[in-house]
């Protein structure tokens, strides 16, 4: 995954988290209120249906009651016309589709000599054909039945409890019975109209506001008048059902309904969270409408599902939208990165992409541009400097070759003398010098050290070396040689350069040596027995400082087998990393350890190696010169 993708995706994710969080919060808030609204609306809807149904039932009941009331006076008018009374019942059933049967049942003995007289008309089950009979006989002793007894005792019209009429219509019915009284208020019979509960039950159970909801109706004694399970009708009461339920709330539903209350009760119907709304019907019955919360929630759940889908779609659109926008906006960053990488890889002329906006991106672009220009300028300068340095270096190398060639490399190889010398400058060129001139059996030699290092020292060294070459060969005394060389070096020496010198002339036949030490380190003499000591000569002033300085020479005689070790302070003052110097004691110790049979070249190399071993990794801080003369 590229840098750009990661950056854009991460930014999109942050935006998504933030915006998504806000969206989800708002959605959750809306859903909560939607749910509450849906819930209360569903209850209202159910109550409306309940009220409408009650009104319908009451309309039927009222029609029946009114029809019966309307024929009351007709009966009174035609008490003596028996045939007409049959017709009354017939007309009542015929004119009212809700009335399935009607009877006018008279008190035993109202008509002289007749125990039972009750004209009765009923309709057949399906044919609607009317049958008119006289109802009472020995097997159907109607004055003992509820529909007759209760209104007679109450003295006002009465709706019977539902019952199965096996004597008349042969169906589940409820009877409206109205007591008949004469002008004195004396009871003489009952006028009835039956309504079919099958029809009522069908009508009630057809009410279904939701898929799993149902309606039921109970009578005053709590027995079912209507119920989707028709086997319960007349056979069970609401309490029978309630007893079977684990939720005892159902019992209170029954009590409230019998008491003719209106209400809403939530309960668990066969473990299904439900609620029931109920209300009284005018004749003492009570209608209930049961709905499951699941059905109500189904609508709400659908609503919530749509909301969730919308939310999800919104978030997806938001994520891809953000990512697309951010990616587009971050393209310059990727281009800058690529340009910077190209520059980093060494292509300093890489083109830095332009940006159109005047924002941080422009600043970034300008910074990159500035960086590129600075790098290019620096590189250009570096090239010039390097070229110039290379030129200096090459010139210095040439100078070094020239300087080294000034120092004689053809060392004498005689039976009576072995000489070797070496110079290792600290820089390309140095200020140390050595020289020797062989004239017959006489050996002129010197080691010198110009103050300072590098080019100034090297130039002064060249003058000194030339002076010695010339003056040394003249055969003068050592004091004269030094005085003349000193005068020569003082001439025009504005920078106060000077050179310390140990110079000597050794007679190789006799071992006699005359020497002069002009400010130089004491040389080491190793006796034939291997004993080493410093030659503490009279100190003379270094050459080049004061013209006309009176140099003094000294003399001594060397035994055969003696060895002279000349050196510059680059040996004794060679420093280790911790600034400890090699020192004179170490030099003496080395001289004592030296194998007496070592050649001059071997001894020179050995001392140099010894010094290098001492200094280790530390830089050489001064020119090192070593000369070794073995008198055989």
């Amino acid at each position: 995954m590229s840098v750009k993708k990661r950056f854009a995706s991460r930014l999109s994710l942050y935006v998504l988290l933030l915006a998504g969080g806000v969206m989800i919060f708002v959605a959750a808030f809306s859903m909560f209120f939607a749910a509450a609204t849906v819930s209360s609306e569903s209850v209202e809807k159910t109550e409306r249906i309940l009220d409408n149904t009650i009104l319908e039932i009451e309309r039927v009941i009222t029609e029946v009651e009114r029809a019966v009331d309307n024929v009351d006076w007709v009966v009174h008018e035609h008490l003596m016309d028996e045939e007409f009374l049959y017709d009354v019942t017939r007309e009542l059933v015929k004119a009212n589709p809700n009335i399935v049967a009607s009877a006018i049942a008279f008190e035993p003995g109202f008509y002289k000599g007749r125990k039972y007289f009750a004209p009765f008309t009923y309709t057949g089950d399906l044919s609607h054909e009317l049958h008119t009979i006289q109802l009472g006989n020995e097997h159907y002793d109607y004055p003992t039945l509820d529909w007759y007894q209760i209104p007679k005792l109450l003295g006002h019209p009465y709706w019977s409890e539902p019952y199965y009429d096996d004597g008349g219509a042969g169906q589940r019915i409820s009877t409206y019975s109205m007591p008949l009284t004469d002008g004195d208020g004396k009871f003489f019979g009952i006028l009835t109209a039956d309504i079919s509960l099958d029809w009522l039950s069908n009508h009630v159970t057809s009410i279904k506001p939701y898929e799993h909801s149902y309606a039921f109706m109970i009578g005053r004694s709590a027995s079912y008048i209507a119920h989707p399970d028709s086997t319960k009708v007349l056979n069970e009461t609401i309490f029978t059902s309630a007893m079977e339920m684990t939720d005892t709330t159902a019992l209170s539903i029954g009590r409230n309904m019998i008491a003719g209350q209106r209400g809403l009760i939530r309960f668990r119907n066969d473990n299904e969270p439900s609620f029931v709304v109920f209300g009284p019907v005018s004749n003492g019955w009570s209608l209930g409408l049961v709905c499951t919360t699941k059905d109500v929630n189904a609508y709400m759940n659908a609503l919530l599902l749509i909301l969730r889908i919308l939310l999800l779609l919104g978030l997806i659109v938001l994520f891809f939208g953000c990512r697309s926008v951010i990616r587009k906006q971050t393209i310059p960053i990727v281009e800058f990165t690529n340009a910077a990488m190209t520059i980093a890889k060494g292509n300093f002329q890489a083109t830095i992409p332009e940006v159109e906006t005047k924002d941080e991106l422009l600043k970034l672009r300008n910074s990159l541009d500035y960086m590129q220009r600075s790098i290019n300028e620096y590189i250009s300068e570096l090239k010039t400097t390097t070229a110039s340095n290379e030129r200096y270096e090459s010139e210095l190398n040439i100078a070094r070759d020239i300087q080294m060639s000034m120092l004689p490399q053809n060392f004498p190889h005689r039976e009576d003398c072995d000489l070797h010398a070496m110079v290792t400058p600290a820089k390309e060129v140095g200020g140390d010098l050595y020289d020797f001139i062989e004239v017959g059996d006489s050996l002129f030699f010197l080691v010198g050290d110009v103050s300072g290092k590098g080019v100034p020292a090297a130039l002064f060294m060249a003058i000194a070396r030339a002076a010695f070459r010339f003056i040394g060969a003249l055969g003068l005394s050592m004091a004269d040689v030094m005085s003349r060389v000193n005068d020569c070096l003082c001439d025009g020496n504005k920078n106060e350069m000077f050179v310390t010198i140990f110079a000597g002339r050794l007679d190789l036949k006799t071992g006699e040596m005359e020497f002069c030490n002009a400010g130089h380190n004491p040389i080491v003499i190793i006796s034939p027995e291997g004993k080493a000591s410093f030659l503490r000569a009279k100190p003379n002033l270094a050459a080049g400082l004061f013209p006309g300085f009176p140099y003094q020479e000294e003399r001594m005689t060397l035994e055969r087998g003696s060895r002279l070790v000349l050196y510059t302070d680059g040996v004794t003052e060679a420093e280790r990393g911790d600034k400890v110097q090699f020192g004179e004691p170490a030099l003496l110790a080395w001289a004592e350890r030296l194998n007496p049979s070592a050649t001059a070249e071997g001894a020179t190399a050995n001392l140099f190696a010894c010094v290098k071993h001492f200094t280790g990794d530390a830089d050489q801080n001064d020119d090192i010169t070593i000369m070794n003369i073995l008198l055989k």
Binding site: S451, M497, T500, N517, H520, P539, A542, D569, N621, D622
Partner: protein
Amino acid sequence: MNVTINEEGAKALVKLEGRLDTTNADQFMKDITPLMNGSHQEIEMDCTDMEYTSSQGLRMFLMLQKSVSARGAKLVLRNMKPHVKEVFDITGFSHIINII
């Protein structure tokens, strides 16, 4: 190399501390320039804490000595450590510079 210069009228008291080698010779030259170009009649250098001097350092002392002598003034180096004094002796500088 630390150079501390205290002036007492026409006399300069100079305190030298540390090593004088190739790496700091140029700085030392700058440090003593006021003494070379100045008008002090007497310059006294305390070398108690001077640890080392290279041949380049010797040259600096010589240049100072010459400029001081040129204006008829005096230069004195005091309390030099024996191993430093030895360098002045070997090179013959003790003949030119007053070391006490």
